[in-house]
Point group: C2
Chain length 141, copies 2
């Protein structure tokens, strides 16, 4: 697994190999080869078209986002750099490290987002306020 | 994570909790709580409607099958019992242990099947011949 970096903070693309034939496509990931070993997987689905989810940062949890059906528009912001990407295939994932602000807009009916996370669910790991996010990024500025 | 058994061989349902609200649905799985720790994840997609995939057994690899979009009709056969189930939601998965013959028919356009596997890819782990499968199940009969 290689990460194509988008920013010094570690945001980047993860590309998985695709095996195509007349019976369809298969894309596979060796989990121990990822930048972190996932301990939690969740799926987000049944989201109204245009709805934005996420819009928070995690203090310690790293995540890998994959849209396996439809498309999801992702914004990220690490306090120094920001960007927008479209996730629209099972083989191309976005690595969203801890302390990166992110939001996901579900652009298609039936879009399904799969997230692999480095830590168990912990409400205390969320930063929901953008100013608080910046304050925690730059505690002495 | 609880498994609702379908057969003594260990074939069974795995149900994950679902969190619904106006912004859509989320279903989550703690990976260390599964019957095995997955080391490989693969997605199968772009399959022609009605096409059957799988149709083999694994000697040592356990798998968990989840259809996260559309529906997939799964047949399983452990040599003593056999059954058919439909996978049609991200929160309900089928545990398919090693030495269970299985096939998956993709019933809907755009169906996406996610598989968690207990072992890395190994072509030598596949049994593609049903009589060979039975012979390996009952080496002394």
């Amino acid at each position: 697994v290689t990460v194509e970096p988008l920013a010094a903070s570690g945001v980047g693309w993860i590309e998985a190999p695709v095996f195509d034939d007349a019976r369809g496509s298969l894309t596979a990931t060796d989990l121990p080869a990822l930048p972190f070993l996932p301990v939690r997987m969740f799926s987000v689905y049944g989201v109204p078209v245009g709805e934005v989810r996420g819009v928070h940062a995690h203090r310690r949890c790293h995540q890998i986002l994959t849209c396996v059906h439809g498309s999801v528009h992702v914004t990220w912001d690490d306090g120094s750099e920001r960007g927008e990407v479209v996730l629209d295939r099972p083989s191309r994932s976005l690595l969203l490290p801890a302390m990166v602000w992110g939001g996901q807009r579900f652009d298609a009916a039936g879009a399904v987002l799969i997230v692999l996370a480095s830590l168990p669910y912990d409400r205390g790991d969320y930063i929901d306020d953008y100013d608080e996010f910046l304050a925690e990024l730059r505690p002495i500025s």
